[in-house]
């Protein structure tokens, strides 16, 4: 190994990722080469001293400005999300209302009818409500939990299948 090769390999030598044979060659060279020993020492010290560098500190004025920016934007972002969630909730409510109307008017597609029938016997939450509907009841509102379940019926419909009979 010569000095040029040694210098090229210093990074691996110091981070311990060098294979044993190469390390031995390098150590052998270091023993007889004063220049490389000095080079290694100063290279290592360079690495060491750079750990002392601190990143530029943020000036207080910037810090405050950045802080208000971040707080404001996070609120806006969350409001945007809330608005979207509200829209989605309203949409679901409308869809379930349509579904229940179709149920009462017996306009459900066969697969949906089947879903309702099996669900009535299986689900404790919706069972009573469905029997009430079957008995001709006309509830003013649909409880939230039940609305969730009914919304899933619509999602469970095979793609392209019309939910209601015309």
């Amino acid at each position: 190994m010569n000095c040029k090769e040694l210098v090229y390999l210093l990074g691996d030598y110091l981070d311990g990722s060098m294979e044993e044979q190469l390390r031995t060659d390098l150590d052998d060279h270091l023993v007889m080469c004063d220049s490389c020993t000095k080079f290694l020492k100063t290279y290592d010290t360079t690495k060491l001293i750079c750990r002392q560098i601190r990143l530029t500190e943020i000036p207080e004025e910037f810090r405050e400005r950045l802080n208000s920016f971040v707080i404001q934007k996070s609120r806006e972002h969350h409001k945007g999300l809330e608005k979207y969630q509200k829209m989605a909730a309203e949409e679901q409510k409308r869809e379930v209302e349509n579904l229940l109307r179709a149920f009462r008017e017996q306009r459900l597609a066969p697969s949906l009818s089947l879903l309702f029938d099996t669900h009535r016997d299986r689900c404790e939450t919706c069972g009573g409500f469905l029997r009430y509907l079957n008995g001709g009841g006309e509830p003013k509102t649909c409880p939230e939990e039940i609305e969730e379940h009914f919304a899933e019926f619509l999602d469970a419909l095979p793609p392209g299948e019309e939910p209601y009979l015309s």
Partner: protein, 201 residues
């Protein structure tokens, strides 16, 4: 002081997604200094660094739901920060930086050092906390082109592993090592010249 549970990356992200203002505050406290410092070391300009820091927080809010926890939160945020800074650099004319080649060691044809090597390691270790030396090194670092500077700052200044730096920058580990090595050779040579001049004065 932010609540202790917010020190957990996943909890912090979860609460951010739920719009908790406490989580926003905790995120800010934990990362704003690093983000700004990193942006400054890449962009070298205060107002650019400030704008890039804003970009980073915006991106974190928008992408909070995509964070999978496969990597540490800080490395995800560093990555966002580096990308935000590089986007900003792209729009600008590159500042002139010194050629790193000028500072690479020179060898004879048979691979020997061409000039005697000085050992200033003891001297520098004594000056370890010397403010002036710190500033000098920082200045040398700033003169590096960003290709080397970013790798150097992440690995040698911030102390991340080469694997983490590679992941953040989208580089291979060997590429990170090679850039890091050249950056160190450059700084080593700069220090040699700086200390030599100091002696002759």
């Amino acid at each position: 002081m932010p609540a202790e549970r917010l020190l957990d990356d996943n909890v912090l992200l979860e609460e951010l997604r739920n719009g908790s203002s406490e989580a926003v505050e905790a995120l800010f406290e934990r990362f704003h200094g690093k983000i700004y410092g990193l942006a400054m070391s890449i962009l070298k300009n205060e107002s650019d660094a400030e704008e890039a820091s804003q970009d980073v927080f915006l991106t974190v809010f928008q992408k909070a739901h995509t964070f999978k926890g496969n990597s540490a939160l800080y490395s995800w945020i560093y990555r966002i920060c580096v990308n935000a800074c590089l986007m900003r650099l792209r729009g600008k004319r590159r500042q002139e930086t010194v050629s790193i080649e000028e500072f690479m060691p020179v060898f004879t044809e048979d691979g020997m050092h061409t000039s005697p090597v000085e050992d200033w390691s003891k001297e520098v270790e004594r000056k370890m906390l010397d403010k002036e030396l710190g500033q000098v090194i920082k200045k040398f670092t700033d003169d590096l082109s960003e290709k080397y500077r970013v790798v150097f700052v992440l690995s040698d200044v911030e102390g991340l592993s080469n694997e983490e730096t590679a992941q953040i920058l989208g580089l291979t580990v060997p590429a990170v090592k090679s850039r890091l090595h050249r950056a160190r050779l450059y700084l080593r040579e700069h220090l040699t010249r700086y200390l030599r001049e100091g002696k002759t004065e």
